[in-house]
């Protein structure tokens, strides 16, 4: 699990069939110091995170496969939206 900041949303018409109807966020992962960690990633979200929100992500592909089916190529998904970062 890792913290990230939602920087935007992405729309895709042509996509893997398991992605149908899902929201895709563009998220910049953060290091423990709060700096950017690598390139931004596309993350599946069913919780309604918005641009600017801090989100807790999981990179457990199995968790996403429970939602989207075993053949999905997705990995990252939103686990929760923390209130305060301390």
């Amino acid at each position: 699990m890792q913290l990230g900041r939602v920087v935007g949303t992405a729309t895709a018409t042509v996509k893997h069939p398991t992605f149908e109807g899902e929201r895709l966020l563009v998220v910049q992962l953060q290091t423990t110091a709060g700096g950017p960690d690598g390139e931004p990633i596309l993350v599946f979200d069913r919780l309604g995170a918005r641009r600017g929100d801090l989100v807790v992500l999981t990179n457990d592909g199995r968790a996403l496969q429970e939602l989207l089916g075993p053949t999905t190529p997705g990995r990252w998904s939103v686990l929760g939206l923390p209130d305060v970062r301390s």
Binding site: G8, T9, V26, P40, T71
Partner: protein
């Protein structure tokens, strides 16, 4: 999935039979500055399996690692980068 910009293709004369029907793209991962400010910086290129029909200039979602082979189901496929979606628009 990282976001990548397609810059070219790789053509193979021989390949494993389970990869039939796909193409191989060369894509550059997009850093944050490239998405937000239109910066020209890009990450290190990688070869991506594609059966959605991405072309040069397309922005794609690149699934990497274990999950990249998931769409092949029980068929064993040596794919560790998979074009999972063609991005129409990114709203920053």
């Amino acid at each position: 999935m990282r976001i990548g910009e397609v810059i070219g293709r790789v053509t193979l004369s021989r390949f494993q039979p389970q990869l039939r029907g796909g193409r191989f793209l060369i894509a550059l991962p997009m850093p944050l500055a490239a998405l937000t400010e239109g910066a020209l910086a890009r990450g290190e290129e990688l070869v991506v399996y594609d059966n959605l029909g991405a072309g040069p200039g397309s922005l794609i979602g690149i699934s990497e690692g274990r999950e990249a082979a998931n769409p092949f189901g029980k068929t064993k496929a040596a794919v560790d980068a998979y074009c999972a979606c063609l991005i129409d628009q990114i709203t920053i």
